[in-house]
């Protein structure tokens, strides 16, 4: 067990890689009642084409990572929610583009709950019958999202930008794409991606690190895992340019929704370089479009944007893009005005004073996030899977310079790389 102390943050992190390859991290939070644990696999909706060292190249149905997440909760004795409930734990899971995360939060019986979490994720139980039954439930989940305009405008944007990369596919797939899923295809994915060497356990809260490591070591020692080779994730080459410039969906909405963004020509970053670019881009977008900017206030007063207007930046080794927008009465006018305003800023760049203030805001926001065990666990895992260090974010932010942000602005805002997604009334 090793420990790293972060003096600035007043946090100490304990970690160890077990013999079977499982990475375990514990962050004690003295004074906290609750313990929050996540058990994550680096396996998400984009991993639909892969080969495990020594095995065959495999393509699996869209939405299967999410389907697998649902099915993990079923045990021969019934639903694992019942076991968690008996031990006072609130459990859940989610699937994103790059990872699947199982989690619980509890204030008692922590050791029992940690074992339950590890054991149920490491004990798949799929039958023909329970796989068929799940198709009805997930079908309703897909229908729910299909009626949700925020979801539709977001996935519309990604589908407009990306031509080949599976990030363009809805995480849950479609009713059609999940229909051929069988227990055999689920086991194929499970065996490829749920090996301990592809997984990370993070525990934060009022726990004793040594006791937790002892428990996890013993638990894993009882299970026989053969070493597994590298997982090769196969992606078709993604063209630099966006697929379509503008994509429109129709849905009952009070006002059109408009989301637009820029597709990076160069994805493919990982580790420290990826973290640096992510943070610099987020800071740049906030300086450009944040709620304290002149641009934001102008557009708000022109009633072209509302409180729903926001921005985000999403990246992985395979893709990177911004997503900007919200509700607007006139998507085309909004885009025209945004372009005029942004082009003016591109000429001058940002000012030092605004830069310092925006950077302080980011630093404050980051520190505030450290009050939340959930955010720490999720962000830490996400950073690890990309080879970055979440606890290094604060010094990273502090070392970003105005020149860097101005350079990022000119690099990222490339109107040829723009895609637009709108949802309008039928």
């Amino acid at each position: 067990m090793e420990q790293i102390h972060y003096e600035r943050l007043q946090e100490t992190l304990y970690h160890e890689v077990l013999d079977n390859g499982l990475k375990v991290y514990v962050l004690p939070k003295p004074g906290f009642t609750k313990t929050y644990a996540t058990f994550a696999t680096k396996y998400g909706s984009v991993d639909n084409h892969f080969r495990v060292a020594g095995g065959e190249e495999t393509t699996v149905p869209d939405g299967i990572a999410h389907f697998l997440e649902h099915k993990m909760f079923e045990e021969p004795e019934g639903d694992i929610f019942a076991t968690f409930a008996s031990n006072g734990a609130s459990a859940n899971a989610f699937t994103s583009f790059e990872q699947t995360v199982y989690l619980f939060s509890a204030t008692e019986k922590i050791e029992t709950n940690i074992e339950t979490l590890i054991d149920f994720v490491q004990r798949p139980y799929f039958t023909d019958q329970n796989v068929e039954k799940e198709k009805g439930i997930i079908g309703q989940e897909i229908n729910m999202y299909a009626d949700n305009p925020d979801w539709r405008v977001y996935f519309g944007l990604i589908a407009a930008m990306y031509q080949k990369n599976p990030v363009r596919i809805d995480i849950a797939g479609t009713v059609e794409s999940i229909s051929p899923i069988t227990k055999e295809t689920l086991y194929t994915c499970y065996n490829a991606f749920y090996h301990p060497s592809n997984m990370l356990l993070f525990i934060v809260g009022g726990v004793d690190p040594e006791a937790v490591f002892e428990l996890v070591r013993n638990n894993q020692g009882r299970k026989a895992y053969e070493p597994q080779g590298e997982i090769e994730r196969i992606f078709e080459r993604e063209p630099e340019e966006v697929g379509v410039k503008r994509l429109e969906n129709k849905l009952a909405v009070s006002m059109p929704k408009c989301l637009f963004g820029f597709k990076e020509k160069e994805a493919g970053l990982s580790g420290k370089a990826a973290v640096r670019r992510d943070l610099t881009t987020k800071l740049m977008l906030d300086l450009l479009l944040g709620s304290s900017t002149a641009l934001y206030q102008k557009l708000y007063d022109e009633e072209l944007i509302s409180d729903s207007f926001g921005h985000e930046y999403n990246s992985s080794p395979q893709y990177a893009f911004s997503a900007i927008g919200g509700d607007t009465k006139d998507p085309d006018l909004l885009l025209k005005r945004i372009r005029e305003e942004i082009d003016a800023i591109l000429q001058t760049g940002f000012e030092e004073r605004d830069f310092i203030r925006a950077r302080n805001k980011k630093i404050g926001g980051h520190l505030r996030m450290l009050n939340s065990p959930e955010s720490i666990a999720h962000e830490f895992t996400r950073y690890q899977f990309r080879g970055g260090d979440f606890f290094g974010v604060l010094p990273e932010y502090e070392s970003i310079t105005l020149d860097e942000v101005n350079e990022r602005l000119r690099e990222h805002i490339d109107w040829d790389q723009l895609a637009v997604s709108v949802v309008v009334n039928p």
């Binding site: 600035r8 943050l9 004074g31 009642t33 609750k34 639903d79 929610f81 019942a82 409930a85 008996s86 031990n87 006072g88 734990a89 609130s90 459990a91 939060s105 204030t107 008692e108 039954k133 799940e134 198709k135 009805g136 439930i137 997930i138 309703q140 989940e141 229908n143 729910m144 299909a146 009626d147 949700n148 305009p149 925020d150 849905l251 009952a252 909405v253 009070s254 006002m255 929704k257 709620s291 304290s292 206030q297 708000y300 007063d301 009633e303 509302s306 729903s308 509700d327 203030r357 925006a358 805001k361 980011k362 630093i363 404050g364 926001g365 520190l367 505030r368 450290l370 009050n371 065990p373």
Partner: protein, 427 residues
């Protein structure tokens, strides 16, 4: 369970509640302002915080206002407007970094109080009225928010169900008010509404963080300047149980793929009652959790839905059920849900269900103390209901309840309204 206790005081007509602790990296500040929910005042009252967040005497332009927050290391500032029982509550929140993590010349707590105090008491004015352009834009913002409710069908169906069920009570009103009333609001009339709101609202100010009641009292005196204001009166429960004669069914058509089935139920048990713990247990066993009857029967056994759950609002004595289903499964889903309600009434509740639900409620109540704003919300429930009951006391009442108590709570529950949001065409 709880080592944390708020210390209560009173300054200039504001009730002060302070919890000194070093557990968090921030100071959490909350100001609650409550007024009775009423048709005539709901809309202007809702509009007030939207205008207040546009500018103050010292930071008249909105960009200045927001830059100021960024200077305070991106202090979190926000507000919510909601209803609790028959009160309309505006909650202002600030979340500011504890000075020890950053290099700041002046205390960030003190600067935050200066900011919040000015937001509430010294808005930017034009003569005797609010700045007209701010009122105009924010009126549109509220209008758009009211119109946007329909975009999220889950939320829309939930609110429509309540509106139908409570159509003869103030509770039918949306906390953001009524669209039709927005046009009549002028910068002058809104400023008058603001003056009487500031004078008459019940004010509770909370601080959680590395501070003391004495420090907070001084800061309130200095920055709120409401010295002449009357002492905030206690919240008055105006709850009177209603008897349901017939179950009312409401169907609404819209361009949707998935049907939203919502039910509204009434109970005579509210937050201040000793039986509140039993009503919590009732809701937990019926539909509060993934081990509950609704999730297990509607989702896991019948694959009818992705979500099927219940919620209990102890301030209003209402429980709601919500689920998203295939439109043609309406009849089947209603039957299964009503069967679960019958099971509850008959007291068909296993020891396992009791124990699981107790464990989940125990977890929920215990983890409150890991979040500053959760602790604040729990204490505010006590102010709102007038019931001085700690989380430990509530928990021991939950622990002591058995199938018999839950059955008795179930006997007070009556299905009132079934609301179904369905597709345009007959299936």
């Amino acid at each position: 369970m709880t080592n944390h206790v708020f210390q209560h005081g009173n300054v200039g007509g504001i009730r002060i509640h302070v919890l000194p602790t070093k557990t968090f990296k921030t100071y959490a500040i909350s100001l609650y302002a409550g007024v009775p929910l009423a048709e005539e005042t709901v809309t202007p009252t809702a509009l007030i915080p939207f205008v207040l967040r546009r500018g103050t005497a010292s930071y008249p332009e909105t960009t200045q206002f927001r830059e100021r927050l960024e200077e305070l290391y991106g202090a979190g500032f926000g507000f919510d407007v909601y209803k609790r029982g028959d009160y309309q509550i505006i909650q202002f929140r600030m979340d500011t970094i504890n000075d020890s993590f950053v290099q700041s010349k002046e205390s960030l707590l003190s600067q935050s109080f200066a900011f919040l105090g000015e937001v509430i008491t010294q808005p930017v004015l034009e003569g005797d009225s609010f700045r007209a352009s701010y009122v105009g834009t924010e009126r549109e913002t509220v209008r758009k928010k009211l119109e946007a409710i329909v975009n999220d069908k889950i939320r829309y169906a939930a609110e429509r169900c309540i509106e139908e069920m409570c159509r003869e009570e103030p509770y039918r009103l949306h906390p953001l008010g009524q669209r039709a009333d927005l046009d009549a609001i002028t910068p002058e009339s809104l400023h008058r509404s603001y003056r009487s709101w500031l004078e008459g609202a019940i004010l509770d100010l909370y601080v959680v963080g590395d501070t003391t009641p004495e420090e907070v009292e001084k800061l309130v005196e200095r920055h709120f300047g409401l010295g002449s204001r009357a002492v905030s009166v206690p919240y008055q429960s105006r709850f009177s149980p209603r008897t349901v004669t017939d179950v009312r069914t409401v169907e609404e058509r819209m361009d949707v793929g998935q049907g939203k089935l919502n039910m509204g139920l009434r109970t005579s048990i509210t937050y201040k009652d000793d039986a509140y713990a039993h009503a919590l247990m009732y809701n937990g066993i019926l539909g509060g959790y993934p081990h509950s009857k609704l999730f297990v029967n509607v989702r896991e056994k019948e694959s009818l839905a992705y979500y099927a759950s219940s919620r209990y609002d102890g301030h209003k004595g209402i429980a709601t059920i919500q689920s998203g289903i295939e439109i043609q499964n309406y009849g089947k889903a209603v039957d299964i849900i009503r069967k679960q309600l019958d099971e509850m009434k008959k007291g068909n509740i296993s020891d396992l269900e009791l124990n699981q639900t107790k464990a989940m409620i125990r977890n929920l109540l215990s983890e409150i103390q890991d979040s500053a704003f959760e602790m604040i919300a729990f204490d505010f429930n006590r102010q709102l209901s007038g019931k001085d009951r700690t989380a430990e006391e509530l928990l021991s009442q939950v622990e002591a309840s058995g199938a018999e108590e839950v059955k008795r709570a179930a006997a007070t529950v009556q299905l009132d309204t079934i609301y179904f949001l369905t597709g345009q065409k007959e299936e």
